[in-house]
């Protein structure tokens, strides 16, 4: 695939690597928005990025920034700053790099799955949901003044909500979707019930129907080892992945009646409308429903 011409997509920031997993001096080849790119961490730790096309000299990418231990790249002219996540760097929680995971579908499918509550019981049986409690209680969805999409007052009963807890407990969730291909969960910390654990997903769209998921956890957990936290995350995400790679169409349909939502999909409906209004073309499917 060629580099996209979608200016909305090109002018946004995307994570393309975790800095701590980028060995100094080594190059890392990947793809962003259909464009092959090569990253390199210099001796001073600062990464550089070039666009690569066969038979042409490499072009230096001007906008490369390190923030939150991730390498962010914008292939166009940034239309805004990188999203502010004040909890990263705040005292208390442990920061866990969860590693890059490839998923052969659109980034939008990954984001939508990430904030979907109704699949917990069926895909994450025994951890994030159970077959005995499958109901999604009503929750609120709104677009804030700064343009971010939020779902609040979400609740779900979870048999094992995190690596830190053994028994079932009702967990409160808030979802923040600050940019189309980025989502952050705030959920009750089982080991610190007045605080939130945080999980963030930054999706790198390689092509319209292929992406890499970069993510982090910010956890109140004094007990679990890093590897135990990581195994818990990877178990959950690999379960999502095994479902995501079979979802069709791979690009996210935006038009009404292409897929039939239920009451528990309020955030999904809002996400699709919000994407539609954003003007983003890359990774979305704007075909209208065929008449029955």
């Amino acid at each position: 695939m060629m580099k996209t011409t979608d200016q909305i997509a090109l002018n946004d920031w995307y994570v393309v690597a975790a800095l701590s997993n980028l060995a100094a001096g080594q190059t890392h080849q990947t793809r962003l928005l259909g464009q092959n790119i090569s990253l390199k961490a210099g001796a001073d730790g600062r990464p550089t990025c070039v666009e690569i096309d066969a038979g042409q000299p490499a072009r230096v990418v001007e906008h490369v920034v390190v923030r939150y231990d991730f390498v962010w790249v914008c292939l166009g002219q940034p239309s805004r700053d990188i999203v502010d996540i004040p909890e990263i760097g705040a005292p208390g929680r442990r920061f866990i790099q969860r590693g890059r995971i490839g998923v052969a579908t659109s980034a939008q499918r990954v984001i939508e799955n990430f904030f979907d509550l109704s699949h917990f019981s069926f895909v994450h049986t025994g951890t994030l949901g159970g077959m005995d409690v499958t109901e999604v209680p009503p929750y609120s969805v709104n677009v804030r003044e700064n343009g971010e999409l939020w779902a609040t007052e979400c609740r779900f009963f979870q048999p094992k909500a995190s690596a830190a807890i053994a028994g079932g407990v009702e967990i409160a969730y808030n979802y923040r979707v600050p940019r189309p291909l980025m989502a952050i969960i705030y959920k009750t910390s089982p080991s610190h019930s007045t605080e939130n654990d945080i999980i963030g997903l930054f999706v790198q769209p390689r092509d319209e129907t292929d992406c890499v998921v970069h993510s982090f956890g910010l956890m109140w957990d004094a007990v679990s080892s890093d590897a135990a936290l990581l195994h818990f995350f990877h178990e959950v995400f690999a379960q999502d992945r095994s479902v995501l790679i079979h979802q069709l169409p791979k690009k996210l349909p935006l038009m009404p009646r292409r897929e039939i939502p239920t009451h528990s999909d309020a955030l999904s409906i809002a996400y699709r409308r919000w994407l539609d209004k954003s003007g983003l073309q890359f990774g979305v499917d704007r075909e209208t429903a065929k008449a029955a």
């Binding site: 990947t30 995971i101 990581l230 095994s242």
Partner: protein, 209 residues
């Protein structure tokens, strides 16, 4: 106590977990940050296994690396009836033949699956072609077996050959290899999932109902 050095998304570790589950053997796990931290390449782990690979299993002073030696050891020490790894020479050799097939011929599938999983941009088409060719052979073997009334790969009951062939076959779609044209493999995967004490790993869908 048996100790398994484990990574949740490793299909080789799953082979061992699967047999430990089937045999109802108690064990403890040491969780390794295989991806992204590459702890298996760190000095501590290399002292245990200089190949820097998973799984590793320890039982007292015994240190075993690699799924095949480990399942062979567990089947011979925790299954007095010797069903999982038959004692009869010809039967044992048939099992070994399919263990070897899983280790060599299905390796490209596991590799393609893992490169996909960690979001690498390598050209996977040679691995996919080799994996497809290997699954054709397994498909034919299982289909011929069904015609002759055989349900399992190497004996008239499930053996460690079935368990060791299972992960790469079941997760071939994660490596970009579809199973749509492999009906005998589908039916055999289903039979494995119905075995008593079967457990899944993330990526392997459980039977519902």
């Amino acid at each position: 106590m048996i100790r398994l050095y484990d990574y949740i998304l490793s299909s080789d570790c799953y082979k061992v977990r699967l047999l430990l589950g089937m045999l109802q053997v108690e064990f403890e796990t040491v969780k390794v940050n295989f991806h992204p931290r590459a702890e298996h390449r760190q000095p501590d782990f290399l002292a245990l296994n200089p190949l820097g690979s998973l799984p590793v299993l320890t039982d007292g002073d015994l240190v075993l690396r690699g799924a095949l030696p480990i399942v062979s050891y567990l089947a011979q020490t925790h299954d007095p009836a010797r069903r999982w790894y038959p004692a009869d020479a010809a039967a044992a050799a048939r099992v070994l033949m399919w263990l070897d097939f899983a280790e060599r011929e299905l390796a490209p599938i596991s590799e393609a699956r893992f490169l996909n999983l960690i979001g690498r941009d390598d050209d996977l088409s040679p691995l996919v072609a080799a994996g497809e060719a290997a699954l054709e052979i397994l498909e034919d073997h299982l289909a011929e077996g069904e015609i002759a009334g055989r349900q399992w790969v190497a004996a008239d009951h499930a053996t460690i050959a079935d368990l060791v062939l299972f992960p790469a076959s079941a997760m071939a779609p994660e490596g970009g290899i579809g199973l749509e044209t492999k009906p005998a493999i589908w039916r055999w995967l289903d039979r494995v999932k119905r075995l008593p004490n079967f457990i899944v790993m993330p990526g392997v869908l459980p039977l519902l109902g």
